[in-house]
């Protein structure tokens, strides 16, 4: 395989990845920092490079609603949004997954208002945790782009049929210029089969979609969604390997480890902060510190078994959250990692949660070192449950 690296903006790499997946309908509403993706897609459409209907809708709510109709009609569909736009979609997100429509959406992660803030954190997609969408988080631009065909393949699997979010950190990944390999059309055609659902809106076979379920039938809809998430757990791993065999790139399936084997302190995180953590680990390893990383790529479905296995040798676990459940004083990853350890004796390591990077606040290596040093205090019996890692004392 001959791969040509080019330096492009993260948004362009994603837009290009969408293009080679050949969606039939794209529907989107502009919101910072998602705009460059949809601008690039619009340009592809204007240049006749895409055989699709590009809909300029009047809101994110209509963006996702139009895709619900389009997907039910049998189309491969795509949208992208962030923050307030994703929050506005909230009601329809449940609807798309409940109707088992495999819509793929890039979420360019951004903070939620108030106070209004356009920069990165992951409160937006984390707040959509229970909508029944698959959620993968990308570490860099290449992974953000490569996730797109992977998610179509997973979402459209006939035993899954769930919508999926490819989450990439706003600005940090969407607006950065990085050397990437743009996804080849020919490889993608081989990798990604056509979407051909069993039932579509078709006058020749007039089925009804979205019927009213009473207490005697509703529960099983949720049960089957959960079962489909279980299938997705396996498929995310398999598709990651299929992808690496075809394109030669691999980022982990559900999880990925870095210096994990002998690590006593394991940091868990999602998204672009992974790169900074790896640099920190490289630095500390030189000083002989046994620090490792467990990257969480799939937040939904949540890989509880795999996490327990990966943490078997850990002495302390640190979770990083660019979100907070206000009133719980914890981020979602912290809560879920702790919850998956309870009721079994595989992992007895304490979990320390750090919330940081809200509203785009930078996460330098020094902040990560500070957290690791705090984790070491556990040995001395000083235990931090969960706290903000990067508070400004003058404002706090």
């Amino acid at each position: 395989m001959r791969h040509r690296m080019v330096v492009v903006e993260g948004s362009y790499a994603v837009a290009h990845a969408v293009k080679v997946c050949k969606p039939n309908v794209i529907s989107a509403y502009p919101i910072t920092p998602q705009t460059h993706i949809v601008e690039d897609l619009s340009q592809f459409a204007a240049d006749g490079e895409m055989n699709c209907e590009y809909m300029n809708v009047e809101s994110e709510f209509s963006a996702i609603s139009a895709l619900i109709g389009a997907s039910a009609a049998g189309a491969r569909t795509y949208t992208s949004t962030t923050s307030q736009g994703l929050a506005l979609m909230h009601e329809a997100l449940f609807n798309a997954s409940g109707m088992r429509l495999p819509i793929v959406m890039t979420v360019v992660n951004r903070a939620l208002s108030a106070p209004i803030n356009i920069w990165n954190d992951q409160q937006d997609s984390i707040s959509q945790r229970d909508t029944g969408w698959i959620q993968l988080y990308a570490e860099d631009v290449q992974e953000s782009a490569d996730m797109t065909p992977q998610l179509y393949k997973i979402a459209e699997d006939e035993d899954i049929l769930l919508p999926a979010m490819a989450c990439m950190d706003g600005f940090i990944l969407s607006h950065v210029y990085e050397p990437v390999i743009l996804l080849e059309q020919s490889l993608t055609d081989e990798f990604l089969p056509d979407y051909s659902p069993e039932f579509v809106l078709d006058p020749k076979n007039p089925m009804s979609f979205g019927a009213f379920a009473d207490p005697s039938t509703y529960t099983e809809f949720r049960y089957k969604q959960e079962k489909a998430m279980g299938v997705a757990l396996k498929r995310i791993e398999e598709v990651a390997i299929e992808f690496s065999e075809k394109y030669g790139r691999y980022y982990g399936g559900l999880l990925d480890g870095y210096m994990l084997e002998d690590a006593e302190i394991v940091i868990m995180a999602m998204g672009s902060v992974i790169g900074t953590i790896k640099d920190t680990i490289d630095m500390l390893r030189k000083e002989g510190e046994r620090v490792g990383l467990l990257k969480v790529r799939s937040f939904r479905p949540f890989p509880a078994d795999e996490i327990r296995k990966a943490l078997k040798n850990a002495k302390v676990v640190i979770t990083l959250d660019k979100n907070i459940s206000v009133g719980k004083n914890e981020g979602a990853l912290c809560t879920e990692v702790k919850a998956c350890m309870y009721n079994n004796r595989d992992v007895l390591a304490p979990v320390i949660g750090f919330m940081l990077g809200h509203g785009g606040r930078d996460i330098p290596i020094s902040t990560i070192v500070k957290m690791i040093n705090k984790a070491k205090l556990v040995e001395k019996g000083i235990f931090i449950e969960s706290e903000f890692a990067d508070l400004r004392e003058d404002l706090a």
Partner: protein, 86 residues
């Protein structure tokens, strides 16, 4: 077993639900008065007033809810509502 619940349902499958049981008044069609105008068929909310081969109309009592629109609209007053069970 397929993991996908059938989120879609088959066309016209409400026919399994025989709404004739709802009826307290039953429309009785008097063909002697009928002008075969078809207004009873047009305005039946259930779509169950059917044209017979001889051009007259009769409701399908399996589904007729006994709303009485047909009787109210019949220009010849050829449909009367009769209390069920009498």
């Amino acid at each position: 077993m397929k993991l996908i619940i059938k989120t879609v349902v088959k066309p016209g499958s409400t026919r399994a639900n025989k709404t004739g049981a709802w009826r307290s008044f039953m429309p009785v069609f008097d063909h002697k008065l009928c002008s075969k105008c078809g207004i009873c068929e047009i305005y039946c909310p259930e779509g169950v007033v059917n044209k017979l081969e001889n051009g007259f109309f009769e409701p399908d009592y399996e589904y007729c809810k006994g709303c009485g629109i047909c009787a109210n609209e019949c220009p010849k007053k050829g449909i009367i509502m009769v209390l069920e069970g009498k």
